[in-house]
Amino acid sequence: MQQIIVSGIGGQGVLFVTKLLAQTAVDTGRSVLLSETHGMAQRGGNVISHLKVAPREQSGTSPVSPLVRPGHADVLLALHPDALAAHGFFLRPGGRAFCNASGTTAEGSLDASAIAGSLGSAVSANLVLLGFAAASGALFCDPAQLETTLARIGGKRTESSLAAFRAGLKAASAP
């Protein structure tokens, strides 16, 4: 089982990134359970998704709770620098955080907004960060599987979304 937290603020595409991961999990034969924020989120508050990915077979102790406990997440995707401060406590010891932040060279950090901006698509920072995280091998799936899903459910913005995702992949291998 892999437990993932996606955190950001309203409008950054937290739910879309979560949907991509969940759909990829199901398309590759896994089961998912996730919990998302609705309601007041649009109005500037923190938005958080909890995602659990597990093998399809059901047993008494497979994931049945839609929430991740503090200290139990394997991966945290922070779409906003504040997200790390707000939700970093979900990570387990040894868990991996990926954060969209500028002016830092900390491990797992990337100025995804700047990269998205240079592609002319400021709203795609979420996909840049996802590509960056996927390249690290920390996720349950590989980048090609995520690309396949993105190409399928990306809608009108598929091309620019794929470009953003690939830019994130590339950033991971940059020196």
Partner: protein, 616 residues
């Protein structure tokens, strides 16, 4: 192979209702229930089903419309959130007595936490008061299954049945198999029976006795019986450590199941999940109390199961202080409860976040913000009764003093007026606010009452032409129903006039100076010798509603050299696009957020914000 799809809990519930061949659903939106009717509408379209779906004017209307469909022998659902159920409490109590014909499912979605509600109330407790059975699902897939089961049980016993999902079920997503959706085949046939459908008080006593008998039968129905979900735990040699078990319902049992597995106790502690926490069968209660020494009850939010298991020695739960009596039972809370109940060491503490979180605020460019700023300017030192909706966030701007429930702003404004008038005290200006959907929901009777009782105040109807906070459901002013078919369009101005209001004006809060004049004129009417209630309708569509036209000239705002960083705009107008940079530093405009409404130009007392160019 069947199609496997990821469904939102609310979509799963909608699917369950259609799999039960529901022919009608009526709802009033409210988080976390709002997506159920929308999902029904899209399934109706996709599968070309004949069903009547409506966004009703309020929950009482929704309940009564759907109930009549059930009286004709057809299956129905009415959908709301827990606070909305209070509005429908009147028909609910009575419908439990009359019973139903076609299966009738009342869905009341609860919000432990509370994430977006005024209360944490437990609808299961209302089911108990009304004497109707209630199902409490623990996952989206179970919610779909229970929706079907609730409908069947309702029809079998001719009684309304409640389905009570919570936020973590409604807004969870899970992958599940899809099956073909059946086309409903029930024809309406209303069989007259005034002794039942129109029973007078004498017959109501008979109906009450019948209701009690129904409940006793339902409690023994094997379809709703408590389930031991870990059968192995009863095996020989696994009951060591003082015969303990866990009993619960809802999503909290899902948290507990996963944690027990992690602790290696899943096959050692018997775990009963109750699909139907009320009414509990007597035999279950007796078996439980004779088989175990210690019984932990896990349920949200109130002790519904616990109250039915009256035993002061063996039961551990809310009434004994082992389970918190408020707040969501998050998995980390459940872990603590389980460890303490099972005599394990407490879990290692997790560093709590020092981060305070971002407070919710009105969107950048929200017309409500402009209206609130104008109200503050027109009626300084006023009393501002507020209401339920996005505009509750006007409290950040200091223009919402009270928030009680839907429609209360108007009644409370009247109450404040009478308080000052009858005490012969100087009357402060009173300016109430209410949204358009809320005005239709509960504002109209309140306005009639205020007028005929001689109250005087200004009422601003914040009309953004949609029900914004719950996801842009249509209001009666739209002129189209859920299917997009044209229907009569209701006018808020005409309604206000029909309620006896003599001063009704409409203005665009983006047109700030004119809007301010309208407010001042309304204030003069309320205070005049022959005045009364004055209504001002602040009309400007919600920016987030993609179905609304965007008709304002988009202005580009620049900060000029007059800005000395006093942060008046940031503190008093609180638009997220105005970003402070620190004391005495000029502010910056966040272009990714700014909607170009230009109202902030009117806000800055120093003329430091300028609309420099126009564009789209």
């Amino acid at each position: 192979m069947t199609e496997r799809s990821i469904l939102l809990g609310n979509e799963a519930i909608a699917l369950g209702l259609l799999e039960a061949e529901c022919t009608m659903a009526a709802s009033y939106p409210g988080t976390p229930a709002s997506e159920i009717l929308r999902a029904l509408a899209s399934l109706k379209e996709r599968h070309k089903l004949d069903l009547h779906l409506e966004w009703s004017i309020n929950e009482k209307a929704a309940f009564e419309v759907a109930l009549a469909n059930s009286y004709t022998g057809r299956r129905s659902a009415t959908i709301m959130k827990q606070v909305g159920l209070n509005v429908a409490a009147d028909p609910l109590m009575s419908a439990a007595y009359t019973g139903v014909k076609g299966g009738f499912v009342l869905i009341s979605a609860d919000d432990p936490g509370p994430h977006s509600s005024q209360t944490e109330q437990d609808s299961r407790l209302i089911a108990m008061v009304a004497k109707i059975p209630v199902f409490d699902p623990s996952s989206p897939e179970e919610a779909r299954e229970y929706a079907r089961r609730a409908c069947a049980l309702s029809e079998k016993h001719e009684i309304p049945v409640m389905l009570r999902p919570t936020t973590r079920v409604c807004h969870a997503r899970q992958d599940m198999d899809l099956r073909p959706v059946p086309h409903p085949k029930q024809f309406p046939l209303f069989e007259k029976n005034p002794g039942r459908w129109a029973a007078t008080p004498k017959f109501r006593l008979v109906l009450h006795r019948q209701l009690n008998e129904k409940l006793a039968r339902i409690s023994r129905d094997p379809d709703c019986a408590p389930q031991l979900v870990n059968g192995d735990a009863l095996g020989p040699g696994t009951r060591d450590g003082g015969r303990a078990c866990i009993v619960g319902s809802g999503v909290v049992t899902a948290h507990a199941q996963e944690i027990l597995g992690e602790l290696g106790l899943w096959d050692r502690v018997p775990f009963y999940r109750l699909p139907m926490p009320y009414p509990l069968p007597e035999s279950f209660r007796d078996d439980l109390l004779s088989s175990y020494d210690r019984i932990l009850i896990l349920e949200e939010t109130d002790p519904v199961i616990e109250l039915q298991l009256q035993n002061r020695e063996k039961i551990f739960g809310r009434t004994t202080g082992h389970v918190p009596t408020a707040g969501e039972l998050l998995p980390e809370v459940v872990e603590g409860i389980l460890r303490s109940f099972l005599g394990l060491d407490p879990s290692p503490p997790v560093e709590p976040p020092a981060y305070p979180g971002r407070r919710p605020t009105l969107c950048a460019g929200c017309p409500h913000r402009a209206a609130f700023f104008a109200i503050k300017k027109a009626f300084p030192k006023g009393i501002y009764p507020g209401d339920i909706g996005c505009y509750t966030l006007g409290l950040n701007l200091g223009v919402v003093d009270t928030v009680l429930c839907m429609g209360a702003s108007i009644n409370q404004a009247a109450g404040f007026y009478h308080a000052y008038r009858s005490a012969r005290r100087d009357m402060p200006p009173i300016c109430a606010t209410i949204g358009d959907s809320t005005f239709f929901h509960a504002g109209v009777p309140a306005l009639m009452n205020a007028v005929v009782q001689g109250a005087r105040f200004v009422l601003v109807v914040l009309d953004n032409s949609t029900t914004a906070m719950t996801g842009h459901q249509p209001t009666p002013a739209l002129g189209r129903n859920l299917d997009g078919i044209p229907v009569p369009r209701l006018s808020i101005a005409e309604l206000a006039k029909a309620c006896g209001v003599r001063s009704v004006a409409e203005g665009d809060p983006y047109d700030f100076d004119r809007f301010l004049d309208l407010l001042k004129a309304a204030g003069r009417h309320a205070g005049a010798e022959d005045g009364g209630v004055a209504v001002v309708i602040a009309k400007r569509p919600c920016l987030m509603d993609r179905n609304q036209p965007r008709t304002w000239p988009r202005l580009r705002i620049e900060v000029n050299e007059k800005c000395k960083g006093c942060d008046f705009c940031v503190k008093q107008f609180e638009c997220p696009a105005l970003r402070p940079r620190g004391e005495k530093e000029p502010i910056v405009i966040d272009d990714s957020l700014c909607s170009g409404c230009g109202v902030c130009v009117r806000v800055c007392p120093h003329g430091a914000l300028e609309a420099v160019s126009e564009g789209h």
